[in-house]
Amino acid sequence: MAKTLVVAELLEGAVRKTSLSGITMAREVGGDFDILLVGEGAGGAAAELTGFGAGKVLTCDIAGGYVCEKHAATVAAVAADYEVVVACASAYGKDLLPRVAAKIGAGVASDISGISNDGGKLVLRRPMYAGNVFGTLTIDTDKKVITGRQTEFEPAAPSGGSSAVSAVAEVSDAAAGRIEFVSLEVVKSERPDLAEADIVVSGGRSLKSAENFTNIIEPLVDTLGAAMGASRAACDAGYVAADLQVGQTGKVVAPKLYVAVGISGAIQHLAGMKGSKCIVAINKDKEAPIAQVADYFLVADLFDAVPALTAEVKKVKAAG
């Protein structure tokens, strides 16, 4: 029996990349691990997970869209045989794993940024206070449930071999009788995923409209091959979809290059991007708090500077 169970994630019948962060977490825990994939199409998608060195890949096809109550009992039944249960701290992992933990009587540490195995004792590290404090902790219960930040656990690379796949039985849960999945509108984009992109360009309230996002920010995003992000103010105002929000409530990103356009740099925004390697701010106020984390700061009106920057990047790229 393996020690760690990785709860992988399905999206529209395919394995979501967040699952590979879960595998990395299991490798950092150390020892053997198995992978569990639950949901509609799990059996069919399992082959995507067999090359990562898991003892086995367990699947459970549960029809219909995801609600926590339909997955948690099945995951808990499997998890009962493992010491450690890990998953990426995506919306799925954060929604599902605490419920699983409560079912198996385990403590749950969420949004972990580091795992070390101190002679068999798992010592975890996690950001708190919007990333302004790091806590080092242990989980006191015999069984331990952990969700980890996608930006801190690089997607696992395949390690060869071929894990055996087997199906497990679905376990029902009374709570599922009172909740019904209606629909999932997945936001589709041709651009790289925010959480995985090497470059992110985010815009703020100062863009003033959805059109300006399209006409000013998007050309820079596409010239750089970047992902697009936004502040809460821009998402709230409806300039871009809510799933582009970067920050304490939104997504955490840590690209090589983060360009903050007309974003003041509130603590809650910084919480989602200050792990980026290089941060550029374009803001007309050189006192804006984004300066606390910016490596380069262009004091300028974004409506002039961003189109000029797009043109300059094109020129430099063409020159090689």
């Binding site: 385990a106 919007a130 302004n132 809460r232 509130a266 380069y296």
Partner: protein
């Protein structure tokens, strides 16, 4: 409809970069910072108030009970919620430095067993612990369904069934849930049309706001007379088990290097290419 709203006081989130760690690293200290209601809880309270009122007539149609687990001083935060419009409060006395989300969920379960609300509407996370755990664990302990990350709520039968849009990292999921249930809220619950309760006229729009409603002077006066019951976990028959042990706290390493102010886009691109090597 009766709604239980758990709220926590936190050190002023806009000054979270001013929290310090004690010399021995065992405690986070927020001396000198003001206590505020956890913003996510303020938003869930706003949602609960909208569910239990006629927004157009500004009259209350249901009951909102606030509960906080913390020291006696945390009554201030409950008072703030009462002045926004909640009916009454409960303070469960505890040392909040020693709580984890699991213990919070266990204490809240005891409160729910006693109060029997139709819904528990809570924040998705506290901005000090940033855990995002208590709501889900509470739902499981109660055997109730959970609608996590609600960006809109609609009911026209006093909360027995709700249509909830959930904001996820992949998009938006719509679910139908039959109460009693636990709901946690996302930012977008504050949008003008995010809550529909069948009482407030369907075309009514709340003002655009980045937080919960302000207390009116009348609300502040009324809150002074509203009851706050003080109880303990033991008096509720709860024996919450701690599941996490924090060994130490640290401040993050400062970002290396200074901010370089650049004069032009040409200079910026040149620096990104030659110095930072990110282009």
């Amino acid at each position: 409809m009766k709604i239980l709203v758990p709220i926590k006081r936190v050190a002023d989130p806009d000054n979270a970069n001013k929290v310090k760690v004690s010399g021995d690293g065992t405690q986070v200290t927020s001396e000198g910072l003001e206590w505020k209601m956890n913003p996510f809880d303020e938003w869930s309270l706003e949602a609960a108030l909208r569910l239990t009122e006629d927004g157009a007539k500004k009259t209350r149609t249901g009951e909102v009970v606030l509960v906080t687990i913390g020291p006696k001083d945390a009554a201030q935060t409950v008072r703030t919620g009462l002045s926004m419009g909640a009916e009454r409060g409960i303070l469960v006395e505890a040392n909040d430095q020693e709580l984890d989300s699991n213990m919070v969920a266990q204490i809240l379960k005891a409160i729910v067993d006693k109060e029997k609300p139709d819904l528990v509407v809570m924040g998705k996370q506290t901005v000090d612990g940033d855990s995002n755990v208590a709501g889900t664990v509470l739902a499981e302990l109660l055997g109730w369904p959970l609608a996590n990350y609600a960006m809109s709520l609609a009911t026209d039968d006093d909360g027995k069934t709700l249509t909830v849009k959930r904001e996820l990292d992949t998009g938006v999921s719509t679910i139908k849930v039959t109460g009693p249930a636990v709901i946690t809220t996302s930012d977008r619950i504050l949008k003008p049309e995010s809550v529909k309760n069948g009482v407030t006229p369907a075309d009514f729009k709340y003002p655009e706001a980045e937080g919960g409603r302000y207390a009116s002077l009348k609300g502040i006066m009324a809150a002074k007379k509203k009851p706050i019951d003080e109880v303990t976990a033991a008096s509720l028959g709860a024996t919450p088990q701690k599941t996490l042990s924090y060994l130490k706290f640290e401040l993050p390493a400062a970002r290396s290097g200074q901010t370089t102010f650049v004069e032009s886009v040409e200079e910026l691109v040149q620096k990104l290419k030659s110095d930072a090597k990110v282009l």
